[in-house]
Amino acid sequence: MALEPIKTILDIKGVSKTFESGTHALERVTLKVSEGSFVALVGPSGSGKSTLLRIVAGLLSGTSGSIGHDLNDDVIANDIGFVFQDPTLMPWATIAENVAIPLRLRLKGLGNAEIDKRTQEVLAWVGIDAFKNAFPRELSGGMRMRASIARALTTQPSLLLLDEPFAALDEFTRAQLNEDLLNLWEDQRWTGIFVTHSIREAVFLAERVVVMSPRPGRVIADIEIPFVYPRTPDLRNDHAYSDICADISNRLASAITDAEL
């Protein structure tokens, strides 16, 4: 196998953020993410994970530091997909219309036929094409989350930011969505940054788990997860898997104790 230099798609350099309210959310966060990788971000509540994602997406600006993108510079938003903790669907629009909204907002030249075709395709990826004419209220929480992921993928972004997308789902649905998300990633190889409170979820999904400290958030550990893809549910019973989870859990716990002292 030829060794290609791995391209860095996102270069976060010493990003700090203090809100106007005085809340110091992030303290010199530095993180390089290489193209096509899957990174999970864990940390205690309030450690600034959401804030970091919002800064990366350009929805918020950092107080200092810089964000280097190697994205389609023309239209950065085309190249970033964002999945919120809540499905955040427009209740007045059908699932298909919800999923098509990035195309309508972004690519104004696109004709209806093209939009329909693309929407159809994305809905099939996440397995909800049967619900395209349903309204969000008519779907279960898991299905709504699938729609939300589909929407983030419609512009075929290079970078997908996911902020605790499965936090509100039951255990079974969550495991199912984990696997489906991984399959999509293996097929499409976008770069994923996945925020979660669940260490087990982080280790199951990611190639790398980045641990953040309590507020103000800093990166306190960056751990490679050695398991090969495709990962199957069996992994969850693996000893090595449990050991890594326990290790991360300990680091997190001691960071929290340190902060409290």
Binding site: L59, V75, F82, F84, T88, I101, L105
Partner: protein
């Protein structure tokens, strides 16, 4: 079956009330100029009905015109105010004045300044109806889901896209709530305006006819006017409810059918 009996209760109550009223009038042998019974009113409705219908149409025209005008100006103003917050600070207090000023006190001036009676009534009814639409729509425009806002920003939505695809649909349930309140207020405004404007004759509205009949102590006729006005008010309410249901039934909590 249970549904049917539920709908029957108001009817039963109404019947009981009418019977009691009828009994009272018979028992005390009340003359028409004090209190006519339901039968006399029904007779008056039957005989004067066709004549009063013309007046009802006059009243209804003003009411509906005022409501439509209030809907457009109210929603338009709310959209304008939300786009430019300075404007909101500047103008909203005056919108409140519009609401708290009793329109009877404004009527004499409008009558002096405006010649055409129709426009006098229209202006007064509009004043009575517009505020709930402004304030409700404004509230709706401000209650947009914060994440959806971020989503629109992320995809670089233009001002007009955000307005059309996000703000307006979010505000629709609130606007319709305002419209339902304003429907009743537009009728009240028209009625008050008619009474103050003091027109008479067949080409005048139903409230003016009511006043005219009561001056002549034709209470059956006056009450017939009253019944027609009440029924009209209720009709407006039902129509607006139906419109609201049609527009929101797929997605808004307030209009979801039970069992969903």
């Amino acid at each position: 079956m249970k549904r049917l009996t539920m709908h029957l209760w108001p009817v039963v109550f109404g019947m009981a009330l009418l019977a009691a009223w009828h009994g009272l009038v018979i028992f005390y042998a009340l003359p028409e100029y004090i209190l006519p019974g339901p039968v006399a009113i029904a007779q008056s409705l039957w005989i004067d009905g066709p004549d009063l219908l013309g007046s009802l149409i006059v009243t209804l025209q003003v009411t509906l015109a005022a409501l439509v005008l209030a809907a457009f100006t109210g929603a338009g103003l709310a959209i304008l105010l939300v786009q430019f917050r300075v404007l909101e600070k500047m103008l909203f207090p005056y919108a409140v004045f519009l609401q708290v000023t009793p329109i009877v006190t404004v009527a004499p001036f409008i009558i002096i300044w405006v010649d055409d009676v129709f426009f006098v009534l229209l202006i007064l009814a509009w004043m009575a109806a517009v505020f709930p639409i402004i304030s409700n729509t404004l509230l709706g425009l401000k209650s947009v889901d914060a994440n959806l806002r971020d989503l629109f920003r992320l995809y670089g939505a233009t001002r007009s896209q955000t307005l059309r695809r996000l703000l307006l649909p979010s505000a629709l349930p609130y606007f319709l709530g305002g419209l339902r309140i304003s429907g009743g207020l537009a009728l009240i405004g028209t009625v008050v305006a008619e009474m103050v404007a003091g027109t008479s004759g067949q080409s005048s509205g139903l409230a003016a006819r009511l006043l005219e009949a009561s001056y002549r102590l034709e209470l059956s006729r006056a009450l017939a006017c009253f019944v027609l006005l009440s029924v009209t008010g209720y009709g407006i309410y039902l129509v607006l409810n139906w419109v609201s249901h049609r527009l929101l039934r797929h997605w808004h909590e307030s209009e979801m059918e039970e069992g969903h």
